[in-house]
Assembly symmetry: C2
Homo-oligomer: 223 residues x 2
Amino acid sequence: MKIIKPKDGEILDIELEESLLRKNKEIAEENKKIFNQYGIKAIDILGSIGSGKTTLICQVVKKLKKEYNIAVIAGDLTTKIDADLIRKNGAKVIQINTGKECHLDAQLVNEAIKNLPLKDINLLFIENVGNLICPAEFPLGAHYRIVVFSCTEGPYTVVKHPYIFKEADMVVINKIDLAKKMGVSLNKFKKDIKKIKPSVPVIGTIAKKGKGIEKIVKFLKNA
Amino acid sequence: MKIIKPKDGEILDIELEESLLRKNKEIAEENKKIFNQYGIKAIDILGSIGSGKTTLICQVVKKLKKEYNIAVIAGDLTTKIDADLIRKNGAKVIQINTGKECHLDAQLVNEAIKNLPLKDINLLFIENVGNLICPAEFPLGAHYRIVVFSCTEGPYTVVKHPYIFKEADMVVINKIDLAKKMGVSLNKFKKDIKKIKPSVPVIGTIAKKGKGIEKIVKFLKNA
Protein backbone atom coordinates (compact mmCIF):
# COMPACT_ATOMS: atom_id res chain seq x y z
CA MET A 1 0.00 0.00 0.00
CA LYS A 2 1.28 3.45 -0.93
CA ILE A 3 1.40 5.93 1.94
CA ILE A 4 1.66 9.63 1.11
CA LYS A 5 2.87 12.27 3.54
CA PRO A 6 2.94 16.05 3.02
CA LYS A 7 6.30 17.63 2.15
CA ASP A 8 7.76 21.06 2.83
CA GLY A 9 6.52 23.74 0.47
CA GLU A 10 3.25 22.01 -0.20
CA ILE A 11 -0.02 23.68 0.55
CA LEU A 12 0.22 22.74 4.21
CA ASP A 13 2.99 25.34 4.35
CA ILE A 14 5.04 24.19 7.26
CA GLU A 15 7.40 27.17 7.53
CA LEU A 16 4.66 29.64 8.04
CA GLU A 17 3.11 27.39 10.59
CA GLU A 18 6.33 27.40 12.57
CA SER A 19 6.28 31.16 12.86
CA LEU A 20 2.61 31.11 13.91
CA LEU A 21 3.33 28.44 16.51
CA ARG A 22 6.30 30.39 17.88
CA LYS A 23 4.21 33.54 18.24
CA ASN A 24 1.42 31.54 19.86
CA LYS A 25 3.84 30.03 22.36
CA GLU A 26 5.14 33.47 23.37
CA ILE A 27 1.65 34.75 24.05
CA ALA A 28 0.80 31.54 25.93
CA GLU A 29 3.79 32.21 28.24
CA GLU A 30 2.49 35.73 28.76
CA ASN A 31 -0.96 34.33 29.66
CA LYS A 32 0.59 31.95 32.17
CA LYS A 33 2.45 34.82 33.82
CA ILE A 34 -0.85 36.67 34.22
CA PHE A 35 -2.49 33.58 35.75
CA ASN A 36 0.40 33.19 38.20
CA GLN A 37 0.39 36.87 39.08
CA TYR A 38 -3.29 36.66 40.10
CA GLY A 39 -3.03 33.21 41.72
CA ILE A 40 -5.31 31.62 39.15
CA LYS A 41 -5.17 27.90 38.41
CA ALA A 42 -5.90 27.55 34.68
CA ILE A 43 -7.13 24.31 33.11
CA ASP A 44 -7.44 23.65 29.37
CA ILE A 45 -10.23 21.20 28.44
CA LEU A 46 -9.94 19.45 25.07
CA GLY A 47 -12.09 16.92 23.25
CA SER A 48 -14.24 16.21 20.19
CA ILE A 49 -17.80 17.39 19.63
CA GLY A 50 -20.09 15.48 22.00
CA SER A 51 -17.28 14.07 24.14
CA GLY A 52 -18.75 15.76 27.21
CA LYS A 53 -16.46 18.76 27.83
CA THR A 54 -19.27 21.15 28.76
CA THR A 55 -21.14 18.62 30.94
CA LEU A 56 -17.92 17.83 32.75
CA ILE A 57 -17.16 21.50 33.40
CA CYS A 58 -20.73 22.06 34.65
CA GLN A 59 -20.43 19.14 37.08
CA VAL A 60 -17.05 20.31 38.38
CA VAL A 61 -18.34 23.88 38.77
CA LYS A 62 -21.29 22.58 40.82
CA LYS A 63 -18.92 20.74 43.18
CA LEU A 64 -16.35 23.53 43.53
CA LYS A 65 -18.25 26.79 43.31
CA LYS A 66 -18.47 27.23 47.07
CA GLU A 67 -14.72 26.77 47.51
CA TYR A 68 -13.42 28.54 44.40
CA ASN A 69 -14.26 31.59 42.36
CA ILE A 70 -14.56 30.00 38.95
CA ALA A 71 -14.52 31.46 35.46
CA VAL A 72 -14.78 29.69 32.12
CA ILE A 73 -13.58 30.74 28.69
CA ALA A 74 -15.76 28.82 26.22
CA GLY A 75 -14.53 28.39 22.65
CA ASP A 76 -16.97 27.56 19.87
CA LEU A 77 -17.25 28.21 16.13
CA THR A 78 -20.46 30.22 16.07
CA THR A 79 -22.87 29.34 18.88
CA LYS A 80 -23.04 30.23 22.58
CA ILE A 81 -24.83 27.05 23.67
CA ASP A 82 -22.02 25.82 25.93
CA ALA A 83 -21.43 29.22 27.49
CA ASP A 84 -25.12 29.52 28.40
CA LEU A 85 -25.15 26.05 29.96
CA ILE A 86 -22.06 26.74 32.07
CA ARG A 87 -23.27 30.13 33.24
CA LYS A 88 -26.47 28.53 34.56
CA ASN A 89 -24.28 26.35 36.79
CA GLY A 90 -22.73 29.31 38.54
CA ALA A 91 -19.50 30.33 36.77
CA LYS A 92 -18.53 33.55 35.03
CA VAL A 93 -18.24 32.85 31.30
CA ILE A 94 -16.48 34.56 28.42
CA GLN A 95 -17.49 33.24 24.98
CA ILE A 96 -14.96 33.12 22.15
CA ASN A 97 -16.43 32.48 18.71
CA THR A 98 -13.70 31.37 16.34
CA GLY A 99 -15.86 31.40 13.19
CA LYS A 100 -14.28 29.01 10.71
CA GLU A 101 -11.19 28.51 12.86
CA CYS A 102 -10.75 25.13 14.42
CA HIS A 103 -9.02 25.92 17.72
CA LEU A 104 -8.49 28.61 20.30
CA ASP A 105 -5.15 30.36 20.21
CA ALA A 106 -3.21 32.15 22.92
CA GLN A 107 -4.02 35.59 21.47
CA LEU A 108 -7.78 35.00 21.68
CA VAL A 109 -7.40 33.79 25.26
CA ASN A 110 -5.21 36.83 26.05
CA GLU A 111 -8.01 39.08 24.86
CA ALA A 112 -10.61 37.11 26.82
CA ILE A 113 -8.58 37.41 30.04
CA LYS A 114 -8.71 41.20 29.76
CA ASN A 115 -12.48 40.93 30.06
CA LEU A 116 -12.37 38.89 33.26
CA PRO A 117 -12.24 40.30 36.82
CA LEU A 118 -8.93 38.52 37.44
CA LYS A 119 -8.64 39.56 41.10
CA ASP A 120 -11.90 37.76 41.88
CA ILE A 121 -10.99 34.45 40.21
CA ASN A 122 -8.83 31.55 41.38
CA LEU A 123 -9.90 28.74 39.04
CA LEU A 124 -10.24 29.12 35.28
CA PHE A 125 -11.38 26.54 32.75
CA ILE A 126 -10.67 27.08 29.07
CA GLU A 127 -13.01 24.92 26.98
CA ASN A 128 -11.52 24.54 23.53
CA VAL A 129 -13.38 24.10 20.24
CA GLY A 130 -14.60 20.50 19.74
CA ASN A 131 -11.61 19.05 17.92
CA LEU A 132 -8.94 16.50 18.86
CA ILE A 133 -6.40 17.56 16.26
CA CYS A 134 -5.64 21.25 15.83
CA PRO A 135 -5.67 22.42 19.47
CA ALA A 136 -2.79 20.02 20.26
CA GLU A 137 -0.22 22.43 18.88
CA PHE A 138 -1.61 25.61 20.38
CA PRO A 139 -0.84 25.93 24.10
CA LEU A 140 -2.94 28.67 25.67
CA GLY A 141 -0.98 29.27 28.86
CA ALA A 142 -3.01 26.97 31.12
CA HIS A 143 -1.21 25.02 33.86
CA TYR A 144 -2.91 21.71 33.07
CA ARG A 145 -4.54 20.06 30.08
CA ILE A 146 -7.43 17.65 30.48
CA VAL A 147 -8.29 15.62 27.36
CA VAL A 148 -11.81 14.16 27.29
CA PHE A 149 -13.12 11.54 24.91
CA SER A 150 -16.22 9.39 24.86
CA CYS A 151 -16.61 5.63 24.46
CA THR A 152 -19.00 6.41 21.59
CA GLU A 153 -16.12 7.71 19.45
CA GLY A 154 -15.11 4.17 18.58
CA PRO A 155 -12.05 2.07 19.46
CA TYR A 156 -9.39 4.20 17.70
CA THR A 157 -9.71 7.62 19.33
CA VAL A 158 -6.47 7.31 21.28
CA VAL A 159 -4.25 5.67 18.66
CA LYS A 160 -5.45 8.13 16.01
CA HIS A 161 -4.56 11.20 18.08
CA PRO A 162 -1.09 10.66 19.57
CA TYR A 163 -0.22 14.37 19.58
CA ILE A 164 -3.06 15.48 21.81
CA PHE A 165 -2.71 12.62 24.29
CA LYS A 166 1.01 13.34 24.62
CA GLU A 167 0.15 16.84 25.86
CA ALA A 168 -2.46 15.65 28.40
CA ASP A 169 -2.02 16.02 32.17
CA MET A 170 -5.20 14.02 32.74
CA VAL A 171 -7.31 11.89 30.42
CA VAL A 172 -11.04 11.46 31.02
CA ILE A 173 -12.85 8.57 29.33
CA ASN A 174 -16.49 9.63 29.35
CA LYS A 175 -19.78 7.75 28.80
CA ILE A 176 -18.19 4.56 30.17
CA ASP A 177 -21.69 3.09 30.61
CA LEU A 178 -21.81 2.80 26.80
CA ALA A 179 -18.47 1.00 26.42
CA LYS A 180 -19.98 -2.47 26.08
CA LYS A 181 -22.69 -1.40 23.66
CA MET A 182 -20.11 0.40 21.52
CA GLY A 183 -17.80 -2.61 21.54
CA VAL A 184 -14.87 -0.76 23.08
CA SER A 185 -12.61 -1.81 25.96
CA LEU A 186 -11.61 0.56 28.77
CA ASN A 187 -8.51 -1.52 29.42
CA LYS A 188 -7.46 -1.23 25.79
CA PHE A 189 -7.99 2.54 25.93
CA LYS A 190 -5.85 2.74 29.07
CA LYS A 191 -3.09 0.69 27.44
CA ASP A 192 -3.20 2.94 24.35
CA ILE A 193 -2.94 6.05 26.52
CA LYS A 194 -0.11 4.70 28.69
CA LYS A 195 1.83 3.79 25.54
CA ILE A 196 1.73 7.44 24.48
CA LYS A 197 2.18 8.94 27.96
CA PRO A 198 2.91 6.45 30.75
CA SER A 199 2.59 8.94 33.61
CA VAL A 200 -0.81 10.43 32.81
CA PRO A 201 -3.73 9.69 35.16
CA VAL A 202 -6.77 8.19 33.40
CA ILE A 203 -10.27 8.56 34.85
CA GLY A 204 -13.53 6.97 33.72
CA THR A 205 -16.71 9.06 34.02
CA ILE A 206 -20.40 9.27 33.22
CA ALA A 207 -20.38 13.05 33.29
CA LYS A 208 -24.14 13.40 32.77
CA LYS A 209 -24.81 11.46 35.98
CA GLY A 210 -21.90 12.98 37.90
CA LYS A 211 -20.10 9.64 38.13
CA GLY A 212 -16.31 9.90 38.45
CA ILE A 213 -16.40 13.70 38.86
CA GLU A 214 -15.03 13.49 42.41
CA LYS A 215 -11.74 12.16 41.00
CA ILE A 216 -11.39 15.19 38.74
CA VAL A 217 -12.23 17.44 41.68
CA LYS A 218 -9.51 15.73 43.74
CA PHE A 219 -6.99 16.17 40.91
CA LEU A 220 -7.86 19.86 40.64
CA LYS A 221 -7.57 20.46 44.39
CA ASN A 222 -4.12 18.87 44.47
CA ALA A 223 -2.98 20.50 41.23
CA MET B 1 -21.95 38.14 28.05
CA LYS B 2 -18.86 39.28 26.20
CA ILE B 3 -18.32 37.51 22.87
CA ILE B 4 -14.88 37.72 21.30
CA LYS B 5 -14.18 37.08 17.63
CA PRO B 6 -10.78 36.97 15.92
CA LYS B 7 -9.71 40.03 13.93
CA ASP B 8 -7.53 40.44 10.85
CA GLY B 9 -3.82 40.40 11.63
CA GLU B 10 -4.23 38.24 14.69
CA ILE B 11 -2.55 34.88 14.96
CA LEU B 12 -5.25 33.23 12.90
CA ASP B 13 -3.75 35.11 9.97
CA ILE B 14 -6.63 35.41 7.60
CA GLU B 15 -4.77 36.89 4.63
CA LEU B 16 -2.40 34.01 4.33
CA GLU B 17 -5.26 31.62 4.65
CA GLU B 18 -6.93 33.25 1.68
CA SER B 19 -3.95 32.59 -0.53
CA LEU B 20 -3.76 28.96 0.68
CA LEU B 21 -7.47 28.50 0.03
CA ARG B 22 -7.16 30.00 -3.48
CA LYS B 23 -4.29 27.68 -4.34
CA ASN B 24 -6.19 24.71 -2.92
CA LYS B 25 -9.24 25.58 -5.02
CA GLU B 26 -7.16 25.69 -8.22
CA ILE B 27 -5.71 22.25 -7.58
CA ALA B 28 -9.17 20.93 -6.67
CA GLU B 29 -10.40 22.08 -10.10
CA GLU B 30 -7.47 20.28 -11.68
CA ASN B 31 -8.37 17.10 -9.76
CA LYS B 32 -11.97 17.34 -10.94
CA LYS B 33 -10.80 17.64 -14.55
CA ILE B 34 -8.77 14.45 -14.13
CA PHE B 35 -11.78 12.64 -12.63
CA ASN B 36 -13.97 13.78 -15.54
CA GLN B 37 -11.36 12.83 -18.13
CA TYR B 38 -11.28 9.26 -16.80
CA GLY B 39 -15.03 9.02 -16.17
CA ILE B 40 -14.55 8.70 -12.41
CA LYS B 41 -17.31 9.66 -9.99
CA ALA B 42 -15.55 11.11 -6.93
CA ILE B 43 -17.18 11.34 -3.49
CA ASP B 44 -15.76 13.19 -0.49
CA ILE B 45 -16.72 11.66 2.90
CA LEU B 46 -16.51 13.93 5.93
CA GLY B 47 -17.23 13.45 9.63
CA SER B 48 -15.81 13.39 13.16
CA ILE B 49 -13.80 10.59 14.72
CA GLY B 50 -16.12 7.63 15.34
CA SER B 51 -18.98 9.00 13.23
CA GLY B 52 -18.83 5.91 11.02
CA LYS B 53 -17.14 7.10 7.81
CA THR B 54 -15.03 3.97 7.35
CA THR B 55 -17.85 1.54 8.20
CA LEU B 56 -20.11 3.36 5.77
CA ILE B 57 -17.54 3.18 2.97
CA CYS B 58 -16.97 -0.54 3.68
CA GLN B 59 -20.71 -1.24 3.47
CA VAL B 60 -21.11 0.71 0.23
CA VAL B 61 -18.06 -1.01 -1.28
CA LYS B 62 -19.60 -4.42 -0.44
CA LYS B 63 -22.83 -3.48 -2.24
CA LEU B 64 -21.23 -1.88 -5.29
CA LYS B 65 -17.99 -3.75 -5.94
CA LYS B 66 -19.53 -6.01 -8.57
CA GLU B 67 -20.91 -3.07 -10.54
CA TYR B 68 -18.13 -0.54 -10.09
CA ASN B 69 -14.36 -0.49 -9.94
CA ILE B 70 -13.87 1.29 -6.65
CA ALA B 71 -10.86 3.03 -5.14
CA VAL B 72 -10.58 4.83 -1.82
CA ILE B 73 -8.19 7.55 -0.70
CA ALA B 74 -8.07 7.32 3.10
CA GLY B 75 -6.87 10.33 5.07
CA ASP B 76 -5.64 9.90 8.63
CA LEU B 77 -3.12 11.62 10.93
CA THR B 78 -0.73 8.73 11.53
CA THR B 79 -2.41 5.31 11.37
CA LYS B 80 -3.53 3.07 8.52
CA ILE B 81 -6.36 1.38 10.42
CA ASP B 82 -9.13 2.65 8.14
CA ALA B 83 -7.21 1.88 4.95
CA ASP B 84 -6.65 -1.73 6.06
CA LEU B 85 -10.34 -2.16 6.92
CA ILE B 86 -11.48 -0.83 3.56
CA ARG B 87 -9.00 -2.89 1.57
CA LYS B 88 -10.36 -6.05 3.19
CA ASN B 89 -13.77 -5.17 1.75
CA GLY B 90 -12.52 -5.17 -1.80
CA ALA B 91 -11.43 -1.69 -2.84
CA LYS B 92 -8.04 -0.33 -3.91
CA VAL B 93 -6.79 2.00 -1.20
CA ILE B 94 -4.28 4.83 -1.10
CA GLN B 95 -3.39 6.00 2.40
CA ILE B 96 -2.59 9.65 3.07
CA ASN B 97 -1.05 10.38 6.48
CA THR B 98 -1.34 14.07 7.27
CA GLY B 99 0.75 13.97 10.46
CA LYS B 100 -0.31 16.90 12.61
CA GLU B 101 -2.47 18.39 9.85
CA CYS B 102 -6.18 18.33 10.41
CA HIS B 103 -7.56 17.89 6.89
CA LEU B 104 -6.76 16.59 3.44
CA ASP B 105 -5.97 19.21 0.84
CA ALA B 106 -6.25 19.13 -2.93
CA GLN B 107 -2.49 18.82 -3.39
CA LEU B 108 -2.30 15.65 -1.30
CA VAL B 109 -5.21 14.19 -3.24
CA ASN B 110 -3.55 15.20 -6.51
CA GLU B 111 -0.47 13.24 -5.49
CA ALA B 112 -2.58 10.26 -4.42
CA ILE B 113 -4.39 10.18 -7.77
CA LYS B 114 -1.07 9.77 -9.55
CA ASN B 115 -0.65 6.49 -7.67
CA LEU B 116 -4.02 5.11 -8.78
CA PRO B 117 -4.69 3.13 -11.98
CA LEU B 118 -7.18 5.76 -13.14
CA LYS B 119 -8.23 3.89 -16.28
CA ASP B 120 -9.45 0.98 -14.16
CA ILE B 121 -11.54 3.04 -11.72
CA ASN B 122 -15.02 4.55 -12.05
CA LEU B 123 -15.94 5.28 -8.44
CA LEU B 124 -13.63 6.99 -5.94
CA PHE B 125 -14.25 7.72 -2.28
CA ILE B 126 -12.06 10.22 -0.48
CA GLU B 127 -12.30 9.68 3.28
CA ASN B 128 -11.17 12.83 5.02
CA VAL B 129 -9.46 13.11 8.42
CA GLY B 130 -11.95 12.82 11.32
CA ASN B 131 -12.84 16.46 11.79
CA LEU B 132 -16.01 18.48 11.17
CA ILE B 133 -14.33 21.87 11.05
CA CYS B 134 -11.21 22.29 8.96
CA PRO B 135 -12.08 20.17 5.88
CA ALA B 136 -15.09 22.42 5.19
CA GLU B 137 -12.91 25.00 3.49
CA PHE B 138 -10.74 22.63 1.48
CA PRO B 139 -12.54 21.25 -1.57
CA LEU B 140 -10.62 18.33 -3.03
CA GLY B 141 -12.16 18.15 -6.49
CA ALA B 142 -14.81 15.51 -5.71
CA HIS B 143 -18.21 15.77 -7.42
CA TYR B 144 -20.20 15.20 -4.23
CA ARG B 145 -19.71 15.64 -0.52
CA ILE B 146 -21.30 13.32 2.02
CA VAL B 147 -21.22 14.54 5.62
CA VAL B 148 -21.67 11.82 8.26
CA PHE B 149 -22.36 12.35 11.94
CA SER B 150 -23.48 10.05 14.73
CA CYS B 151 -26.30 10.40 17.23
CA THR B 152 -23.70 9.86 19.94
CA GLU B 153 -22.12 13.25 19.20
CA GLY B 154 -24.84 15.01 21.18
CA PRO B 155 -27.67 17.33 20.16
CA TYR B 156 -25.59 20.23 18.82
CA THR B 157 -23.48 18.67 16.06
CA VAL B 158 -25.43 20.36 13.26
CA VAL B 159 -25.93 23.81 14.75
CA LYS B 160 -22.27 23.95 15.82
CA HIS B 161 -20.95 23.20 12.31
CA PRO B 162 -22.89 25.34 9.85
CA TYR B 163 -19.99 25.60 7.39
CA ILE B 164 -19.60 21.91 6.74
CA PHE B 165 -23.32 21.21 6.44
CA LYS B 166 -23.68 24.04 3.95
CA GLU B 167 -21.23 22.23 1.66
CA ALA B 168 -22.96 18.82 1.94
CA ASP B 169 -24.67 17.11 -1.02
CA MET B 170 -25.96 14.40 1.30
CA VAL B 171 -26.09 14.15 5.08
CA VAL B 172 -25.97 10.78 6.83
CA ILE B 173 -27.13 10.54 10.44
CA ASN B 174 -25.51 7.37 11.72
CA LYS B 175 -26.09 5.16 14.80
CA ILE B 176 -29.79 6.13 14.80
CA ASP B 177 -30.52 3.16 17.08
CA LEU B 178 -28.78 5.13 19.85
CA ALA B 179 -30.80 8.35 19.36
CA LYS B 180 -33.20 7.70 22.23
CA LYS B 181 -30.50 6.61 24.66
CA MET B 182 -28.44 9.69 23.82
CA GLY B 183 -31.45 11.98 24.24
CA VAL B 184 -31.30 13.37 20.70
CA SER B 185 -34.13 13.82 18.18
CA LEU B 186 -33.79 12.85 14.52
CA ASN B 187 -36.51 15.34 13.62
CA LYS B 188 -34.66 18.13 15.37
CA PHE B 189 -31.46 17.16 13.48
CA LYS B 190 -33.35 17.23 10.18
CA LYS B 191 -34.80 20.64 10.97
CA ASP B 192 -31.33 21.95 11.89
CA ILE B 193 -29.89 20.61 8.63
CA LYS B 194 -32.72 21.97 6.46
CA LYS B 195 -32.28 25.40 8.05
CA ILE B 196 -28.66 25.44 6.85
CA LYS B 197 -29.28 23.75 3.48
CA PRO B 198 -32.95 23.16 2.60
CA SER B 199 -32.26 21.04 -0.50
CA VAL B 200 -29.89 18.45 0.95
CA PRO B 201 -31.09 14.84 1.28
CA VAL B 202 -30.81 13.44 4.81
CA ILE B 203 -30.50 9.70 5.44
CA GLY B 204 -30.57 7.79 8.73
CA THR B 205 -28.32 4.73 9.03
CA ILE B 206 -26.97 2.07 11.35
CA ALA B 207 -23.86 1.57 9.25
CA LYS B 208 -22.52 -1.31 11.34
CA LYS B 209 -25.64 -3.36 10.58
CA GLY B 210 -25.95 -2.16 6.99
CA LYS B 211 -29.24 -0.38 7.73
CA GLY B 212 -29.97 2.57 5.41
CA ILE B 213 -26.99 1.81 3.15
CA GLU B 214 -29.28 1.05 0.19
CA LYS B 215 -30.35 4.72 0.16
CA ILE B 216 -26.76 5.85 -0.15
CA VAL B 217 -26.21 3.29 -2.90
CA LYS B 218 -29.26 4.65 -4.76
CA PHE B 219 -27.97 8.21 -4.38
CA LEU B 220 -24.59 7.19 -5.75
CA LYS B 221 -26.07 5.33 -8.73
CA ASN B 222 -28.15 8.35 -9.70
CA ALA B 223 -25.38 10.86 -8.98
